[in-house]
């Protein structure tokens, strides 16, 4: 009964919760990207981008996203300013 009330107030069924959690866990397991590697990847992306534009370092996010038939690497970066000319390294 208590459960039914909780469901009524928008708590998802535990089976569905499990499925969603497993989707994320398996995706990470399969790609085999540890948090360390993700962090390194993030720093590398940041380094490349900052050669062309000024970036808000604190806002960068790198995530894996699962589509129906693909896994995507999605990165969200806030740009402060784009340089007129690409800086030559």
């Amino acid at each position: 009964m208590l459960k039914a009330i909780r469901r009524f107030f928008g708590e998802r069924a535990s089976g569905e919760v499990a499925r969603k959690r497993m989707q994320v866990v398996l995706m990470h397991d399969r790609v085999d990207l540890t948090p360390d590697i993700m962090e390194a990847l993030k720093n590398d992306i940041l380094a490349v981008l900052s050669r062309y534009m000024e970036i808000d370092n604190k806002t960068i996010r790198v995530d894996l996203e699962k589509g129906k038939e693909y896994t995507a690497l999605v990165s969200n970066v806030h740009i402060k300013r784009v340089y007129r000319r690409a800086a030559t390294s």
Binding site: S14, G15, A18, R19, M22, L26, D29, R30
Partner: protein, 263 residues
């Protein structure tokens, strides 16, 4: 080679590998195929007690591999079926007493004589797993509808594919249809969707399994058991028979009547 070697694996322990091996093996033997079951769980043998043959063990798998006995001497014949044998694991040895190459050779030899060689894989993904998988052409991955079992199953599927074993089938054990209906358990479709491996069958959660292992008589001998029927259908599908995949724990009126009469 005449026969086929099939490994039953799961990653996680306690999901029903041994029960699956015992019941599929017994069903295939009842269909008049010659079958040998190998317990590859060295140090933690269990297939013998599930089959009710624990009193007859003299030699074991490691004895064969080390040449201490002939292959026939370590094979124990089933109590009921003359064309069903088991090769027990060694109980007082370590997993690295066997090498993958030796298992390959053994499986090849057994396939000359038997239609089906079923291997009960140990839990885990170390040496014991590599040994159990080495000689197989087909893998059955057993999971239960729980997050830990599913995650481990996914790991194992990855490792099987890395070992170039691509004929992989999924068995979902201990599905509780009532809980699925309430939304408190992942459904068959959920699990197949997550693991992306073809489904061989679903076994409903049942107290019969405990009773059958208590007695040491595989479930499929008991015609009144729903879980037993599920294992029979799985074995038939494995054998290439056309049995529809509708046994996800639901059962019609006639099924219930039949079960009532047999029990």
């Amino acid at each position: 080679m005449a026969g086929k070697t099939i490994v039953v694996t799961s990653g996680k322990g306690g999901v029903g590998k041994t029960t699956t091996v015992a019941n599929i093996g017994t069903t295939l033997a009842k269909k008049k195929y010659s079958v040998v079951l190998i317990d590859a769980d060295i140090g933690l043998r269990n297939l013998d007690v599930v089959m009710g043959l624990e009193n007859r063990i003299v030699y074991n798998l490691v004895d064969i591999i080390e040449g201490k006995c002939r292959m026939q001497q370590a094979m124990i014949r089933d109590r009921k079926l003359a064309n069903l044998y088991i090769i027990p694991a060694a109980q007082t040895r370590e997993k690295n007493a066997v090498q993958p190459e030796q298992m390959k050779t053994l499986c090849a030899e057994l396939m000359e004589e038997f239609d089906f060689v079923l291997i009960d894989c140990p839990a885990g993904i170390e040496q014991g797993f590599k040994n159990a998988v080495a000689g197989a052409q087909t893998a059955l991955v057993v999971t239960t509808p729980e997050v830990s079992a599913i995650r481990d199953a996914d790991r194992v599927i990855g490792l099987l594919e890395a070992a170039m074993l691509h004929d992989i089938h999924l068995i979902i054990n201990r599905l509780n249809q009532k809980m699925v209906k309430k939304g408190d358990m992942m459904s068959t479709q959920d699990i197949v969707g997550l693991l992306a491996v073809p489904l061989l069958g679903v076994v409903p959660e049942s107290e019969d399994v405990v009773v059958s292992t208590n007695r040491g008589i595989p479930l499929v001998h008991d015609r009144g058991s729903r879980a037993g029927v599920a294992f029979q259908r799985i074995a038939a599908r494995l054998n290439g028979e056309n049995v529809p995949l509708d046994d996800n724990g639901a059962e019609g009126f006639f099924g219930r009547m039949k079960r009532f009469i047999w029990s």
